[in-house]
Amino acid sequence: MKRFATFWWEFVVGDDWRVAAGIVVAIGLTALLATTSIPAWWLLPLAVAAVLWTSLKRAAG
């Protein structure tokens, strides 16, 4: 059971769990912004770039 859970965790989340967490937060914030009158389309692309760069910087020491 533990190995099964570990497999799915590694399959979905991968090497850096912070990336998955960052994406969930970014989509949540996008959904919040989309309920206002401010355009929200720009938020997710910028958040994706920020999450990726943060993860890469961490991996590159």
Binding site: F11, V13, I23, T30, P39, A40
Partner: protein, 239 residues
């Protein structure tokens, strides 16, 4: 279809290395039976989950699929950028083949159902695990674009191409530019993940679908910039 084709090509090059190592060292019967059983299992996963996904409302589907594609895409992109910038070693199919073959030679012979069990299970696991991500991509792209068979055809075409190339080359496909393909897959998954994830969250893209090339260009530009920045960082890093 292109995303499914490229992702399938990358994963099948890796699966081919495992099946080849098992075939040469443990016998082709068990290796091919394992690969065939795993292919059937993957086809069954797509056949069962595909129709189930079509009953989910499109907005909810896009949100979940977008989030998952983003997480997957960033995993591919992260690995490809680290490899392209020299922070992680490129995958060497010849070295993987040699290691797998050495392990297989040392493993015990055990017959089950008339097959060498080691050769069967390693081939089965190799194809199933490498193919699972492809099955996921086929399901997500196919369900959000309304054509799982088309995405499955793209993936199947890559399988055929890799198998034929393996037969022609008669060895691991070490000259396939795996990292460039993985980079392209990462960019595409991240692009569609961003687009659908945002749409699912309630965003109206300027120009609707016409903004997709813009998102693609942005993800590509950002990724190439990160490769350049990390290469510079690598050069300046103390040895």
């Amino acid at each position: 279809m292109l995303s499914a084709f490229l992702a399938s090509a990358v994963e099948m090059v890796e699966a081919l290395t495992i099946v080849l190592a098992m075939g040469v060292t443990r016998g082709w019967r068990a290796a091919l039976a394992g690969a065939g059983a795993a292919t059937l299992a993957l086809a069954a996963i797509v056949a069962v989950l595909g129709p189930a996904l079509t009953v989910i409302p499109i907005e909810a589907l896009r949100l979940v699929v977008g989030a998952l594609l983003l997480v997957f895409g960033l995993q591919w992109l992260r690995k490809a950028i680290l490899r392209a910038s020299g922070w992680r070693a490129l995958r060497d199919e010849d070295a993987v083949y040699a290691r797998r073959a050495a392990e297989a030679r040392g493993a015990q012979h055990e017959l089950r159902a008339g097959l060498d069990w080691y050769g069967f299970t390693i081939s089965f696991k190799g194809v199933l695990l490498e193919g699972l991500e492809v099955a996921f991509i086929v399901l997500t792209f196919g369900s959000t674009q309304g054509s799982i068979p088309l995405a499955a055809a793209g993936a199947a075409a890559a399988v055929v191409l890799v198998v034929v190339a393996g037969i022609v080359v008669h060895g691991p496909l070490s000259r396939v530019p795996e990292n460039a393909l993985a980079f392209a897959v990462g960019v595409m998954l991240t692009t569609f993940g961003t687009f659908w994830g945002a749409e699912g969250a309630g965003v109206d893209w300027p120009g609707d679908d016409a903004s997709l090339p813009g998102v693609l260009g942005f993800v590509l530009l950002v990724s190439l910039t990160f490769v350049t920045a990390l290469r510079r960082r690598r050069r300046l890093a103390p040895a």
